[in-house]
């Protein structure tokens, strides 16, 4: 296909703003698939994605579209992950496109992540086609949403399309706009190959399948290629594209989007963002800056039954074949046994990994409270990173402590500003900017506002998102991006059960919150630890200073009273059962703690 007749684009949309429905409609109206052939929403292929209404892995579909000018165009629709955890993958997808369809739900308006992605698209110089979706709904508010689009993004009503992905209204006009407004790819066919990897997955027959955009040159089956950042070399086993079915071809030309089968064993060997070039005739410079996926959020994953560790280990290995951003290191806890300390891109990524391990591998797992990575400079000059609070050195040995911060952007109706600002303040957030979006329609309370904050990532990891949603009655949307490390003034809060320090319960907290967090934890322990035959003091301490304490009173009564007509066997069986339960208890010093109690404290979100 003539390079001039290729259009590479993606759809930027918030969750539930109708991206997948529109994608299906585009596929259907270009005749790539008939409606009855499509399982609803072809592009969301993973079961989990469909259930959560989000798209996790980007894929690309080639559509042949004959425009009103009689010319047939080759449209490559590249799907983008919709969640902030995958913002790096989104940026690579954007880098593979010349244009983007910005899809805004006309019953809702612009959401925080959408905005972040639009800004990112603008940075990549993409041609953006603003589109108001769901025009068929009676609750549509085109005027209000249009004014937001105008004020926030500067688009005119004339260049904004009004469509319904569901009914097909305006989809024909959208296809024409894609052809006429988005520029064709500008790469050089005669230059050495440069191809951008924007996604990959592992296939057990063909090895890693890399999704790519050929920027310069071309790729043929059998070519010897090299990843410019990692240096990995490979021979192309297969070349092709999706329509949405797999279609092998002999060659992918300049400007085209498709896949190659690499024969590689781990997706980490074909990293998203890296540039592929030819071994014989390599390009001088890669396409865009590549950075390896960096986990930001860490948590322990353990099997509920210690015996299942081997199964977990195998499952983890298989999952990592397909998920280059997941890191895992074996970890041993006296109370939980063998498990893994895992690194994730963010909380959603963590949830997805956890659910996939349980669902696809049939495991029952325990996930400990998530935490971040701290950079510590010790008094002897040594720099270390600490993930487990238990590994934090003594305060006297710490010269400098740093923690990751994020830039947070929240879009909310103005009536929730108060409670959200309060939440930010409680979370250690620093206010940066407030911007009113669009004109207020109807009451002033519905005026939407964007609030920008800087805050420690640590504060986002537990109840922040739920609080944001509950304080805004579900209306606020959130976007965040990593903003580097900043100095942290934090202390380690230790928990002592019957004078015994329990490493796993230690937390890193701001000093002013130590007492409150300590109180919550000791109270939780009091509720969860069954009474022992002696009084058990439970204390929270910072350094040597006790900040909270409660006592678990001694058990007073535990005796079987009646002997039912000489039924000694029954008595013995009840004692047996009790004894078995006792054997399963974990020991903290001489305090017997059921595993469930231990877990519930580990998971307590404060």
């Amino acid at each position: 296909m003539d390079q001039r007749h290729i259009r590479n684009f993606c759809i930027i949309a918030h969750i539930d703003h109708g991206k997948s429905t529109l994608a299906d409609r585009l596929i259907e109206s270009t005749g790539a698939m008939r409606r009855e052939e499509m399982s609803a929403q072809v592009m969301d292929s993973m079961e989990l994605e469909r259930e959560r209404g989000i798209t996790i892995k980007a894929k690309a579909i080639r559509l042949n579209y004959t425009a009103t000018d009689g010319q047939t165009y080759l449209l490559n629709l590249i799907d983008t992950p919709g969640h902030v955890d995958f913002s790096y993958e989104v940026s690579r997808t954007l880098a593979a496109c010349e244009g983007a369809v910005l899809l805004v739900d006309v019953t809702q308006g612009i959401q925080a992540q959408t905005l972040a992605n639009v800004y990112s698209a603008m940075e990549h110089n993409l041609e953006i086609i603003p589109v108001l979706n769901k025009m068929d709904l009676p609750t549509a508010e085109p005027e209000r949403v249009m004014s937001e689009v105008k004020m926030v993004l500067g688009y005119t009503e004339a260049e904004t399309l009004k469509i319904s992905g569901k009914t097909g209204l305006g989809v024909a006009e959208l296809l024409e706009a894609i052809v006429h407004r988005i520029p064709p790819p500008s790469g050089k066919p005669e230059s050495p190959l440069r191809s951008l990897i924007f996604d990959s997955h592992y296939d057990r027959y063909k090895g890693v399948i890399a999704y790519l955009r050929v920027v310069d040159g071309s790729i043929r089956k059998g070519d010897r290629l090299r990843f410019m950042a990692t240096g990995t070399e490979l021979e192309v086993i297969e070349v092709g594209y999706f329509n949405p079915r797999e279609c092998p071809v002999d060659v992918l030309f300049t400007g085209e989007v498709g896949y190659i089968a690499t024969g590689l064993k781990q997706v980490g060997e074909a990293p998203v963002g890296d540039t592929l070039t030819s071994v014989e005739n390599p390009a001088a410079t890669p396409l865009v800056g590549y950075r390896p996926a960096k986990p930001m959020v860490f948590a322990g994953i353990y099997p509920t039954e210690a015996n299942d560790y081997q199964d977990l280990r195998e499952a983890m290995e298989k999952l990592k074949l397909n998920d280059a951003s997941l890191t895992s290191e074996m970890e041993n806890s006296p109370l939980l046994g063998h498990g893994f300390r895992c690194g994730f891109l963010g909380l959603l990524h963590m949830d997805i990994v956890y659910e996939r391990l349980e669902r696809e591998f049939g495991l029952s797992l325990v996930v400990t409270a998530p935490g971040v990575e701290y950079l510590i400079t010790k008094s002897d000059g040594e720099k270390i990173t600490v993930i487990n609070p238990g590994e934090l050195p003594d305060p006297s040995q710490i010269v400098k402590m740093e923690e990751p911060w994020v830039k947070v952007s929240i879009i909310t109706p103005s009536k929730f500003i108060g409670p959200i600002m309060e939440l930010e303040r409680d979370s250690g957030g620093v206010h940066k900017h407030t911007e009113f979006l669009g004109a207020a329609m109807g009451s002033e309370e519905n005026q939407r506002v964007r609030l920008d904050y800087d805050m420690p990532l640590r504060s986002m990891l537990t109840t922040f998102y739920d609080s944001l949603k509950s304080r805004s009655k579900g209306y606020a949307s959130l976007d965040y991006e990593f903003d580097g490390y900043r100095d942290a003034k934090l202390v380690k809060l230790d928990i002592l059960v019957n004078e015994v320090l329990v490493d796993a319960f230690s937390r890193i907290v701001p000093p002013e919150q130590a007492m409150n967090v300590g109180r919550i934890l000791v109270q939780k322990l009091k509720e969860e630890i069954p009474r022992q035959l002696f009084v058990v003091p439970v204390q929270a301490a910072v350094g040597g200073r006790i900040v909270a304490r409660t006592d678990i009173g001694a058990k007073r009564k535990d005796v079987l009273a009646k002997c039912y007509g000489g039924d000694i066997t029954r008595k013995r069986k009840l004692l047996d059962k009790q004894k078995e339960g006792k054997k399963k208890m974990k020991l903290i010093g001489r305090v017997e703690v059921p595993k469930e109690a231990f877990l519930s404290v580990l998971k307590t979100e404060i």
């Binding site: 035959l533 058990k555 009564k557 535990d558 007509g565 039924d567």
Partner: protein
């Protein structure tokens, strides 16, 4: 001639009590005649040769639902097979609301010389909560009638740890209990058994769960009040005036032989623990055909026997003697269980007194913690 105790189970009740999980059938009283015949048949078929009966215990259920004629038939069957020892202890469990003076006099004349009345509480609200069929005044009246009928070995059952009971209610109740001047008292802690209406009500949040701390306080209060009134505690749940300990129950604790008769009855014979079928219909139909009903049998190994001897023996206030254990099992108690004994002693649950190992007062409330450690 060997000594033997008989336990006879009467699995009928007017109505199931809210807390009870024991085998008993409501609204099956029409089956009593057939059940009586079945019992008589079982007594005959299971006759232990050359045994003398030291104690007989009619337990339930509600044994006092048995008409005097039925009891007479059962006694006749027993006497056909066995010699009942002179001075044998013959107990009948009876529930207030099912008995009157005439009945009590008749059963006494049949040979019942000990009556155990299921009073459970002297508070009407509590009796309703427990789902008892009688009121507190009926209980008082039954107690009076039992004495009037000539029973000089009278026992009353009470329940402690009833939800929402105040300490004052219990103190007043104990004060009244000692004025009743009966020879024997059993105090059982309320246990929430699964599949009982009480359990369901607690699950639904209609009734608070029994509070173990409140139960412990009530127990301690009872120990104090009953001792002051001249009752000796001789077992975790039992108190008596001197000389009126239940000889039948002592057989259980001391692992003496007993033959259980009736549906769901349990026996301990020749180191076997045996349970009759708990199915009333199967029990009756098998025996009406002259066949013994199905049983489950567990042979007690030597290790289990040892832990039973310790666990059951420790229930008695007198505790166990290392000499007895040595004589029966050929093991040195203090050597074999050195760790357990030291552990329980340091926790204040066990004590050594007069060459015997026994539960401390605290240990009596935490008996399971001790027993578990000695379980094989």
């Amino acid at each position: 001639m060997t000594e033997l105790s008989l336990y006879i189970h009467i699995p009928f009740c007017r109505r199931r009590c809210a807390y009870c999980s024991f085998v008993s059938y409501a609204e099956r009283e029409t089956d009593i005649p057939a059940y009586t015949r079945a019992l008589a048949e079982e007594i005959k078929l299971r006759c232990v040769d050359d045994a003398e009966i030291k104690t007989i215990y009619f337990g339930g259920g509600t044994p006092s639902l048995m008409p005097a004629d039925s009891l007479k038939e059962i006694f006749k069957a027993i006497r056909t097979c066995y010699k009942i020892a002179d001075g044998a202890e013959v107990t009948l469990e009876a529930n207030p609301g099912t008995i009157d003076s005439g009945y009590l006099k008749t059963v006494r004349s049949l040979g019942v010389n000990r009556l155990s009345l299921g009073v459970q509480s002297l508070d009407d609200a509590e009796l309703r909560l427990l789902g008892r069929i009688h009121t507190s005044s009926e209980a008082r009246e039954s107690t009076r009638q039992a004495k009037e009928a000539g029973f000089t070995n009278l026992s009353l059952d009470f329940i402690y740890g009833i939800p929402e009971r105040s300490q004052v209610t219990w103190r007043n109740m104990l004060a009244e209990i000692v004025t009743l001047r009966v020879q024997h008292l059993s105090l059982y802690g309320l246990t929430l058994e699964e599949d009982t209406p009480m359990h369901e009500r607690v699950e639904r949040g209609e009734v608070p769960s029994p509070d173990p701390d409140a139960a412990a306080s009530e127990y301690e209060m009872a120990e104090e009040v009953l001792q002051a009134a001249g009752y000796n505690q001789y077992e975790i749940s039992n108190w008596s005036q001197p000389g009126f300990e239940s000889r039948h129950n002592r057989v259980y604790w001391q692992r003496g032989p007993y033959l259980g008769l009736g549906a769901a009855a349990h026996s301990f014979l020749d180191n076997k623990r045996i349970a009759n079928t708990s199915d009333l219909d199967i029990y009756i139909s098998e025996l009406s055909g002259g066949k013994l009903p199905p049983q489950t049998t567990e042979v007690i190994s030597k290790v289990v026997a040892l832990s039973e001897a310790i666990i059951l023996g420790l229930r008695l206030n007198e505790g166990i003697s290392a000499g007895d254990i040595q004589a029966h099992f050929g093991i040195d108690l203090h050597h074999r269980f050195a760790v357990e004994i030291a552990d329980c002693s340091s926790l204040g649950l066990l004590e050594e007194k007069g060459g015997r190992l026994r539960l401390t007062p605290r240990g009596r409330l935490l008996g399971n913690e001790v027993f578990m450690r000695f379980l094989a």
